[in-house]
Symmetry: C2
Subunit: 288 residues, 2 copies
Amino acid sequence: MILGAIEAGGTKFVLAVGNEKGELKEKLSIPTRTPEETMPEIYAFFRDKNIEALGIGCFGPLELNKEKEKYGYITSTPKLAWSDYDILGNLKKNLKVPVEISTDVSGAALGEVTFGAYEKENTLLYITVGTGIGGGYVIGGKIHNGMLHPEMGHVLVTKNPRDTYNGACPYHENCLEGLAAGPANEGRTGMKGIDIPDDHESFHFIAEYMAEALMSYILVLSPTKIVLGGGVMARTHMLPEIRQILEKKLNGYIKTDQLSSLDSYIVTPSLGAESGIKGALALALMAK
Amino acid sequence: MILGAIEAGGTKFVLAVGNEKGELKEKLSIPTRTPEETMPEIYAFFRDKNIEALGIGCFGPLELNKEKEKYGYITSTPKLAWSDYDILGNLKKNLKVPVEISTDVSGAALGEVTFGAYEKENTLLYITVGTGIGGGYVIGGKIHNGMLHPEMGHVLVTKNPRDTYNGACPYHENCLEGLAAGPANEGRTGMKGIDIPDDHESFHFIAEYMAEALMSYILVLSPTKIVLGGGVMARTHMLPEIRQILEKKLNGYIKTDQLSSLDSYIVTPSLGAESGIKGALALALMAK
């Protein structure tokens, strides 16, 4: 089977061709510009590839309710050129193949259970901590959406009294994304992300906020596996500290096999940086 | 069809006989004592009823993973007589009918979508605020469980600085249940619940905590309908205030039809006090 995959992010689009085994045969990364500039590049890439179906994991918010007129649209994004843009419809019209769409992070969750090491997990939560923070949840191999896709990055957390940063989210004073995503820590420290040393106190704040949010996710969803990806999580000292604080916060209230071994419960992506693009491949399989 | 239903709570067990339309034909309430005392009363009630199947919504925590040896057990409950008790196995053995089990609040959620006014909702969250706080989530007519059933009552919330109460939860200083359930407010006010007047400031605190928790539930699950039940929510002045605070907290970040009309999004149980027992009837239907 020849399948197309797109991972559409705020700074770049990753385009790929692969197969039903999750093998990637060809990959191209292009910068995210406007639809007028970016979409023709996408069409050109896929035109001679003979793909049978396409999957796209896309930045949001997206309209994912199939009963809505604007199903498959990017809706009220701050990336204004893409606001109210019918990305699903345009891909279908120009590439003439079935297309399945989800958020980028739900796609990554799907990638991990379809082609990653976690295919036996009945419920998997994927959280990305990078430019933004988002979560995707897969139940029995299917992405969970309700009235909208999840927006887990905006759960409120309790600020550490020593943390004087006011938060980067224009909507919420103390939401996780506004306090723990990459731009928040650049705002807090006045440094470029790459220049902030691992032992900077700000990472303790972030670990605390992540642990509090994870506690909520666990109590609400009860996932059998949690995968943490994204640029901030690439700091390998973060995960052990997050687990440690989480354990203290949960304080033994819930007793499960998973929570008794947090090292194998809260993990890094088994597909490394390819969870998203392979998730898009899994979406293409669903479109078939 | 003749179906049996049990709503097993910390203070009473409700036993009922009904049918596949959700009609209750006979109901009996007995106090929760020890398994040695209570279980024979249950067997006696159902013995001559000719039920074809039984559903039970039960206080927890429960082992609901069918692959576990202790599937259907009440596990580490503070009600010590019921700790590590095989309630499912004993019901099956003594009544010789198929039995389906869930938590009490997941049962109530199922009742609302099966026999209540919300059968068209693909995703429904039911939160009960009473002696404890719990949540049940139904997706496509099925109860959601992950590594465990949800334990939504224990999400952390930010304390109002004017609220000097230390919380009633032995595990978490500032979890929702410890600050907003009935016993918490009795501890805070030094009054019996029934004696606390509606205009007591403590109800503002509770409305704030509920709104913060609901914000998390909405961002994580994105339910298409939220039902709030339980004794504390029977104070009818609470719901409008909760909706108002929630709207401020979300601050327009998510745009959906549901969130633009909170009055029909966050509602009281359409089955009144019968969500739980009718949910148990719906569980019996599933056991068949």
